[in-house]
């Protein structure tokens, strides 16, 4: 259900940026979503559909890249993509570590409809 909160924040930011740039219509919204966000794609898409309705993003496409998890081992500082929930380091086999990537939910870019293309 946190998808709805994220989507609300995303819509607020999208509308704010559109106003700043003086664009009346959004064509595409591109995100980066880390695996650790535990996003359910169907829920996110449905939240977008519901919240974009009646806004400048109503007909926009929502797309995203999934960012894989990367951990820095706290013992030997090796960076690795974990293969299990315990983040076991392939070098020294200790578990846990610092998240280097994979926890983000980032609005990467917004594509606005080119007014000329509307004609």
């Amino acid at each position: 259900m946190h998808e709805y909160s994220l989507m609300q924040a995303l819509m607020d930011k999208t509308i704010e940026i559109a106003a700043e740039h003086g664009h009346p219509k959004v064509e595409r919204i591109k995100l980066q979503i880390g695996e650790l966000q535990h996003i359910v794609p169907d829920i996110l898409e449905f939240a977008f559909e519901v919240m974009a309705k009646g806004t400048i993003a109503e007909t926009a496409d929502l797309v995203w890249d999934v960012v894989p998890v990367k951990i820095k081992c706290q013992q030997c500082h090796t960076e690795f993509e974990p293969h299990d929930v315990f983040w076991v380091c392939p070098q020294c086999e200790s578990s846990g570590g610092e998240i280097k990537q994979g926890d983000e939910f980032i609005l990467e870019s917004i594509t606005f409809v080119d007014p000329a293309g509307e004609l």
Binding site: M1, S5, D12, K13, L107, E108, T111, F112
Partner: protein, 214 residues
């Protein structure tokens, strides 16, 4: 036309959480964020805490629930200031809700604010509230597999309370596995075993809280 943005979508929440944290620090308040599944005993834990420590420390409580003021009513019986946040079905608290709620308290007069999050092991974990410490509460009947199924909570919490340990003789709860999984997720995690019903482990919990107050 594509506009590059690169904006952290939860930045608004993170900014408000930083404001809450700064406010707590300004007033020397310890903020505790209790996260658990529904029914793990968070409110009982708060009641137990208040019954032992309310004479020694000045508490405030923020109760988060989708509906009703039942928890706030239970806590209000202890004579401490309490505010109920109803999320109207929402599954977690966010920093803006906590920030607005702080206006209801006389912060000069408080040392510890306990925030009882909405019962949910997923969504509350993603929203920093500006707490000083995050506490995971798990009760024995929920099963020993909770840490491995909801790892993010246990990676980010500062303390885990294993509650309702008086039920261990009646339930197939593999405590060794539970502890091993938590330690693998978060080697520094402290686990306090307790039962609000029998009082076992309560002293250890109270000592932990006392250690946080300057």
């Amino acid at each position: 036309m594509e506009v590059q943005v690169v904006h952290k979508v939860l930045k608004a929440n993170d900014d408000l959480a930083a404001m809450v944290r700064a406010k707590f620090e300004e007033y020397g308040i310890v903020g505790l964020n209790l996260i658990s599944a529904p029914g793990s005993g968070k409110t009982s834990l708060i009641e137990t805490t208040l019954s032992h420590l309310k004479a020694e420390f000045r508490f405030g409580v923020i109760e988060g629930d989708p509906d009703t003021t039942r928890d706030a009513e239970r806590v209000a019986k202890f004579g401490v200031p309490v505010t109920q946040i109803n999320t109207a079905g929402g599954c977690h608290l966010e920093a803006n809700l906590v920030w607005r709620t702080l206006d209801n308290f006389n912060l000069h007069n408080l040392q510890i604010i306990i925030i009882e999050n909405v019962g949910n092991l997923v969504c509350p974990v993603g929203f920093d509230l500006g707490e000083t410490k995050r506490i995971a509460v798990v009760s024995v009947p929920e099963g020993h597999d909770k840490p491995i199924k909801y790892p993010k909570l246990f990676r980010t919490a500062d303390l885990t309370i294993l509650n309702k340990i008086d039920l261990l003789p009646y339930i197939d709860f593999d405590e060794a596995q539970f502890t091993a999984d938590i330690k693998a997720l978060n080697p520094d995690m402290r686990i306090i075993r307790m039962s609000c019903r029998t009082g076992e482990g309560v002293e250890e919990w109270l000592a932990w809280i006392k250690g946080l107050v300057v």
